[in-house]
Symmetry: D2
Subunit: 292 residues, 4 copies
């Protein structure tokens, strides 16, 4: 099989590692929107082409965009570029027949109508991607807890709300650091599985009756900690919300009640950019291989 | 709520513990088919009524039968009774309007046509039951491995085939005893989850290409280790098959190839009858509560 | 037994928690050197007396000083006080016949000659104190690694130099987060114990032959990573030195070689002040009880 | 270095594996007292010489005897030999100037006076040997518990008496299988270490005040569970005594009180003969290398 040429168009530090992984897997990698980054420092500098010359995009077999939606001005997130990175009409014309990997597909199509018919994969929404991201997300949450909780995780009463992918890995991590772990879920089989893995199980609905924990990790993307529930929550607790915006906590009410909260967003990108970048590369390579 | 009267009709040692748990939960428990068991020894003897007087069955709100199918003579498994325990026509008439818990429902209905219209719950087939049983099953498998493997689990290369309920708990147990654990699965998300939990993941189909492990645990209920695969398997391996009959191993071929195999059936009942009995009680109590 | 009166003279945030624990254990606690702290916020405010009136010291049965040595001006570390906290002659006269808990005993006696005959316990040097501190120290190290390492601990090749108290707990923590853990030690029985706990063991002297790890944690208080060893170390490694000053790494040479290093000092106090304070309280209460 | 010739004189199945390991390490291995074993089955058959011709002993650089003492008739334990294996005068003459590895040195010297001046290493008494054996011993204890306890280890209240080598590994194993683990010790630093590893710590002396556990593992080689203590012990508990004879339990009193006890002796040899044999080989090779 001939080597694929992959264009990375925008993105943060993770995408440098993503590009590195793709290059290591034998792809030619073109990186747009990284003019602030000195390739000379990169261990894979010979395999990555950093450029902002959009004509080179024609060479690409597929294009990777960052997971964030395009902004109101039609710009792609590109914090490592000196200037905003426009996904303008010319570029849209070039890439519209290529395989595109991007987050928030619907927003992309809306802002760049030329792409309406394109073959776009919403990679952050893929199950495999989410499972792989559970590890750096859980570790990031552990890091946030260690830094912000005044006691030790060892012996701390922890509640993990939700037993999805992150909940599973996070509960296992906390438990192995000798925290006392309770996990909430709704389905009876999840409650049984929580017990089988050695944690204490409670029904998510029971949280509203009050909860006495030292640290509460929320992974459920809907309002679990509303004002009423917060009033029944141990005021000395630290609440770490891992759910994406708007999150599962009424932060205003929490502030009023003097409960410490942290909205820990985009953890893998922040605490483990290399891992996060490698996971993007793995997911995309798996997509490409399956489709061939 | 008034106390429920529950009849246990047949079953092995597990059902003594099941009866104990039900009594402890406030039920009146009638136990049929246990005349070899001396109640005097049972810590809950005052709460259990051991009897073989079938007229008492009329008092029961519901009836629990063992998970095994009724045999060709219409008898229920009752190893703790001095005589075979018939589920005869008279009894069928008494219980046909009660809630019945039994395994292998279809067989039951076939052998006791009077029950064809009854409200029968196939409790061993319930997801919750299966998840709860994963813990004693996995521990039993660990016990079998310790007893039969000449080395230690610590450092042993172990393969767990299948990442269902038992596979998940077993892989975690082995890993925490410092075995080197590889798990096989088919779905990409399961493979990602296996990695997230710290194990090595392989596709189940790859097992046929040969496998070099010290201990192989099979949990998949179809023929994985046929003669061809066995020929590519490390001949010094110990294969422990946890799948119910006929199991996942061609035992005849294994014997010919001098590969040690163990078909470890009904593990929870054997190595942890109390746990197994409590799980039956929990499952049935949950069913009754949900239905009220 | 009558309630003991304990004076805490100086110290950081940890000592607020230490005071809280002592109060909860039934002691009267006088805290000197905390005038910047608003007692009203403290959950135990009624049990703690914050004061800078040294005459009150006469009431104390024993006096706790912070673990750091007295500085050249005769001042005790007191970051929560508005002014430097002198241990002047008058105070020395008051406390010289009391039981004193302090770090760096020899320095204390040198600077405050009146105390030369006093009954001083160097509590940070007590074995029990060191073992209890291993947990928050190891967790702090995990936190530092999560924050600074670009990959995940999961799957990272980690070296822990030294298998003392912190090494033991840290290696177990890392391993349970699915890092690949190698531990160095000198004694054959330690090497065997490292293996028994599921880690890979190497002799400390072998580190000088070069080491290929992603993260290196040093706990040995002598120069392990000198320039020669650093030259044979994976330049992409992150070295976290947990040994107290001057530490086990030639930081200057590391900078020259472009190897990332972090000298993570006083971890428990920083990342887990409550745990650290409770440990001081536990240690001191155990000392007082044993001596009665 | 020229290949060493090592004679194994007696011993059970472990010594077949021990011989195999020594052969694999490049030694010539002569095995005396295994005439019931068919070498043809042994994977290392070409490297092992099975013989009962004592003249060959002259070729040996060193001689390994089993850990058990020589019996009253001057015989060495040799369960895999068709006849008793005498260590007679002729043999004693041959080996008296060689390096000898044996257990219970004093007994050996007493029964075979010719060896009084010999260079004998009591290898089962070596610290390294004991630490390495802790892993198979702890696993064996886990196996015994799984087989004999009617519930699951998961959730069981377990007491480990003693925090020596086996206690450390056993407590970690139990805890990782989700048992609720309490460990007893005498020294304050051990109690702190027990806590640091996430277990509950109690003083050994407190056991006599009564103990409410599901499973009790004793590793302390003195009478801990005397009649008085047993009377205060949960009668439903299972006591597994891992201490060598006479053990730490008054077994007669336990029987009278109807408490289940198991004296689990020589576990590594029984449940993990290969591991046990490899450990003997490792220990002896380390001794030989250090001494050269």
């Amino acid at each position: 099989m001939e080597a694929k040429t992959i264009a990375i168009f925008g993105g943060d530090k993770r995408f440098l590692f993503c590009g590195g992984s793709l290059a290591q897997a034998g792809c030619n990698v073109l990186m747009f929107g990284f003019d602030q980054f000195k390739t000379t420092e990169h261990p894979l500098k010979e395999k990555l082409t950093l450029t902002n010359d959009c004509d080179l995009l024609t060479k690409a077999d597929c294009v990777i965009l960052p997971p964030q939606p395009i902004d109101a001005d039609g710009c792609v997130a590109a914090p490592l570029n000196s200037k905003p990175l426009h996904l303008n009409q010319k570029i849209a014309e070039i890439i519209k027949n290529k395989k595109i990997f991007a987050g928030f597909e619907y927003v992309l199509k809306e802002h760049v109508p030329q792409l309406a018919q394109s073959d776009i994969t919403d990679y952050p929404a893929l199950e495999e991607f989410a499972v792989l991201n559970a590890v750096p997300s859980a570790e990031g949450a552990i890091g946030v807890a260690i830094e912000n909780f005044e006691g030790t995780l060892h012996g701390a009463k922890c509640l993990v709300c939700g037993y999805g992918r992150i909940g599973k890995v996070l509960a296992a991590d906390l438990s192995s650091l000798h925290a006392k772990v309770t996990v909430s879920a709704r389905k009876p089989t999840d409650l049984a599985l929580i017990t089988a893995f050695g944690h204490t199980a409670i029904e998510t609905s029971a949280i509203a009756n009050g909860c006495d924990y030292d640290i509460i990790f929320n992974t459920i993307p809907r309002l679990i900690f509303d004002e009423r529930t917060l009033k029944k929550t141990n005021p000395a607790a630290l609440i770490i919300d891992l759910a994406s915006k708007p999150g599962g906590v009424d932060f205003k009410a929490a502030r009023k009640l003097n409960i410490d909260t942290i909205h820990a967003l985009s953890l893998p990108g922040k605490t483990a950019p290399r891992a996060a970048g490698e996971i993007i590369a793995t997911t995309i390579l798996n997509c490409l291989n399956t489709q061939i």
